[in-house]
C-alpha cells in the first residue's frame, strides 16, 4: 500500500467534559482521516479509579461511548478511524461499552476495536518498590513508600508504539489508558507514513502536532487573548485539524465555514500552553525541541508548521500517581454595595475568630475576594470604594475530615450573624471534598510492557 500524500487528524475533545457534539461536527463538516479524542488530565485517572472502585465495569470516560455513536456512519462508510485515551483505568471495560453501542447500531462487523493496556501500575506497585523502583516525587525527591497506603492510581504514560501496532492490526477505534496526549496524534501520522523509531525529527513534528490539537478549540480561537474580540462565531467553533505530510511538515487548520480562527497567534498561544523547558519536550518516543518550530501563515485559517527537530528519548517513562491527601471545602457569600469589600473583610474576621474558638485546626485557610483581588492578588491594587459587589470566598484544607465538616456549618450562618447586605447563599452549606493529589515520578521503561488486542 502506497503512503498517502497527507494525513488529516482532527482533535475533537480537549478534556473529559469538552463539548459532546464536537466529534460529530469534526467528521461531518469536512474530511478527516483520524479523529483524535483526548480525555485525560493529570487528575482524571484518580476520578476514574474512584468510579471503578464503586463499579468494576466503569473507570473510563463514558462520554466516549456517545461520541462513537455520534460518528459511527463516518467510521463505517468513509473509513475515518478513531484514536482516544478514553480507556482511563479500564480500557477493556471501555471497549466492551463501545462494542455494545456499535453492535446495537448493527455496525458490529464493520468496526474493529484495538485496546492498549499495560500502563496501569497499581497492581504492581509493591513489587516495583521492592524491586528497586522507589518512584520518587519528581519535584520533592521523596520516595513513594511514604504515602504508599494512600495511593489511588498509578499509571505510566505510554507512547505511540502500541497505538501504531493496533492500527497496523486493523483497528477502526484505538482505545488506550494513560498514553501521552501527544502520542494519540503522532501515532496515526507516523504509522501512515511508516516513520521509524530513530526518525527523531519527524516523530518530534508529530508530537508538536499533537500538542497543538490536544486541547481542542484552544488552538482554533478559543481562549485566545490575541485580538479576542474579533474571533468569529465561537458558538460554532471549528475544532483544530492537522494536515500532515510525509516530510514532517504539517498545516494546522479547521473545516471551512466553521467559527473560530486558526492563525499564527492562536497556534502560538497553544504551543506555549503548559510549556516547561522548550528545548526538551520529553515524550516516551522522542524529545521535541520547541525552539526549532517555524510557523507561517498559509492562507485563511491555515498555519504551516516546519523545521521541527527532535532527538532520542530518555530511558524513562513518566508515571502519574494519585493519592488521598486530606479534605477541603470552599464556601462563599456575596456582599453588595455600599462598602462591599469592607463588609466581606469583616465577615472573614468573624469566621476566623469562630474557627479559632471552636479549636479547629487546618493546614490552610485561604480567603479570596472575587471581584477585587482573587485572580491577580496584590497586583490588582486596592479597588475603589464603589464596587457593586464582592464575593467572599474561603477555603480550608485539613487531614481531619471532622474539622472541615465543622467549617462548612460556619459560613452560611453569617447571613444572619454577620455584616449586612449579604446574599448568594443559595447553594447552602459548602461540600466537603476529599483531596486527591498528584505525584509525578519516573520509571525505567523496561519494566513497563504495553499490550495490544484488536477485537
Amino acid at each position: 500500500m502506497s503512503a498517502p500524500r497527507t494525513v488529516r487528524v482532527g482533535g475533537g475533545q480537549g478534556f473529559w467534559g469538552d463539548e459532546p457534539d464536537a466529534p460529530r461536527r469534526l467528521v461531518e463538516r469536512g474530511p478527516i482521516d483520524f479523529l483524535m479524542l483526548d480525555y485525560l488530565a493529570e487528575v482524571t485517572m484518580s476520578i476514574l479509579q474512584k468510579q471503578k472502585e464503586r463499579d468494576p465495569s466503569l473507570g473510563y470516560a463514558r462520554d466516549f461511548v456517545g461520541a462513537i455513536d455520534s460518528v459511527l456512519p463516518a467510521l463505517t462508510t468513509r473509513g475515518v478511524r478513531v484514536v482516544a485515551n478514553a480507556g482511563g483505568v479500564n480500557p477493556r471495560g471501555c471497549a466492551s461499552a463501545v462494542r455494545a453501542a456499535v453492535d446495537a447500531r448493527g455496525a458490529g462487523a464493520a468496526v474493529r476495536i484495538g485496546v492498549v493496556t499495560g500502563d496501569d501500575l497499581l497492581p504492581r506497585l509493591d513489587e516495583l518498590i521492592a524491586g528497586g523502583h522507589p518512584l520518587v516525587h519528581m519535584e520533592t525527591g521523596a520516595p513513594l513508600a511514604g504515602i504508599r497506603e494512600r495511593v489511588l492510581s498509578a499509571n505510566a504514560y505510554i507512547g505511540a508504539a502500541p497505538i501504531r501496532e493496533a492500527l497496523r492490526g486493523g483497528a477502526t477505534i484505538v482505545i488506550t489508558g494513560r498514553s501521552t496526549d501527544t502520542a494519540l496524534t503522532m501515532a496515526p501520522i507516523a504509522e501512515a507514513f511508516g516513520w521509524q523509531s530513530d526518525d527523531h525529527d519527524r516523530l518530534a513534528a508529530g508530537i508538536v502536532a499533537g500538542h497543538i490539537i490536544e486541547c481542542g478549540a484552544q488552538a482554533s480561537g478559543g481562549n485566545c487573548l490575541a485580538d479576542w474580540r474579533s474571533v468569529p462565531d465561537l458558538a460554532d467553533v471549528g475544532y483544530p485539524i492537522v494536515e500532515a505530510s510525509a516530510d514532517g511538515s504539517f498545516v494546522v487548520t479547521k473545516h471551512p465555514g466553521t467559527g473560530g480562527r486558526v492563525s499564527v497567534a492562536t497556534v502560538t498561544e497553544q504551543l506555549v500552553y503548559e510549556m516547561g523547558d522548550p528545548h526538551a519536550y520529553i515524550t516516551p518516543d522522542v524529545i521535541a525541541d520547541f525552539t526549532t518550530i517555524r510557523l507561517t501563515a498559509d492562507g485563511p485559517d491555515r498555519v504551516r508548521v516546519t523545521g521541527i527537530r527532535g532527538r532520542a528519548p530518555t530511558p524513562f517513562l513518566k508515571v502519574s500517581i494519585a493519592y488521598r491527601a486530606g479534605f477541603k471545602a470552599i464556601g462563599s457569600l456575596v456582599y453588595a454595595w455600599p462598602d462591599a469589600l469592607e463588609k466581606a473583610r469583616a465577615a472573614d474576621r468573624i469566621l476566623r475568630e469562630r474557627l479559632d474558638r471552636l479549636g479547629l485546626r487546618f493546614d490552610q485557610v485561604l480567603t479570596e475576594y472575587v471581584g477585587a483581588s482573587a485572580t491577580h492578588g496584590v497586583l490588582a491594587g486596592e479597588p475603589g470604594p464603589d464596587l457593586a459587589e464582592v464575593q467572599w470566598r474561603v477555603g480550608v484544607r485539613s487531614e481531619r475530615r471532622a474539622d472541615v465538616e465543622r467549617f462548612t456549618r460556619e459560613v452560611v450562618p453569617l447571613v444572619l450573624n454577620g455584616p449586612p447586605s449579604v446574599t448568594g447563599f443559595a447553594g447552602g452549606r459548602p461540600k466537603v471534598e476529599e483531596i486527591v493529589a498528584y505525584w509525578p515520578a519516573l520509571i525505567d521503561k523496561r519494566v513497563v510492557s504495553p499490550r495490544v488486542e484488536v477485537v
Binding site: 493529570e42 487528575v43 519535584e139 481562549n223 487573548l225 490575541a226 497567534a265 502560538t268 498561544e269 497553544q270 504551543l271 506555549v272 500552553y273 503548559e274 510549556m275 516547561g276 523547558d277 522548550p278 528545548h279 520547541f290 525552539t291 526549532t292 518550530i293 517555524r294 510557523l295 523545521g307 491527601a325 477541603k328 470552599i330 490552610q364 485561604l366 479570596e368 472575587v370 482573587a374 485572580t375 491577580h376 492578588g377 496584590v378 497586583l379 470566598r393 477555603g395 480550608v396 484544607r397 483531596i435 486527591v436 493529589a437 498528584y438 509525578p440
Partner: protein, 117 residues
C-alpha cells in the same frame, strides 16, 4: 517611556504541579527583542513578589517571538490541593501583562512602541 506589556504582547498560562508557566508572545515580531531585553527574570520575579512562593525561570523562543516563564510555587500546592480560584494558573497570563516597562525613548521610537495611557 512607560510602556504597558499588555500593549506589546499576548500570553497564555497553564500549570505543571505547583508551577505556573506563562508564555509571553510579542504582538508584532519585531517587538520580541524589546521583550527579551526588558522582561527579565529579575523584573518578573519583582513583579510577582509576594504573589508566588518560589523562583522564576525564563526560556527564550525567538522562533515564536515568545518568552516562557516558569513561576515556581505559584499555585498554593497546585491542581487539586490548591484552594485558589485560579488553582491551575490559567490567568497568570494577564497578571504578567500588568507589568509596566521603562523603555528608553530612543528604543521606544525605533520600535514604534505605544506609550502607556
Amino acid at each position: 517611556m512607560r510602556v504597558r506589556l499588555l500593549d506589546l504582547a499576548h500570553a497564555r498560562s497553564g500549570d505543571k504541579g505547583d508551577t505556573a508557566n506563562v508564555g509571553l508572545i510579542a504582538t508584532r515580531p519585531e517587538w520580541y527583542d524589546v521583550l527579551a531585553r526588558h522582561v527579565t527574570v529579575e523584573r518578573v520575579a519583582a513583579h510577582f513578589a509576594g504573589v508566588i512562593g518560589g523562583p522564576v525561570e525564563r526560556y527564550e523562543l525567538p522562533n515564536l517571538g515568545a518568552l516562557n516563564f516558569l513561576l515556581h510555587g505559584a499555585l498554593d500546592g497546585g491542581g487539586t490541593v490548591s484552594l485558589k480560584t485560579d488553582a491551575q494558573g490559567k490567568v497568570y497570563s494577564t497578571a504578567l501583562l500588568r507589568l509596566i516597562l521603562d523603555v528608553p525613548d530612543a528604543e521606544a521610537a525605533r520600535f514604534s512602541l505605544p506609550p502607556a495611557p
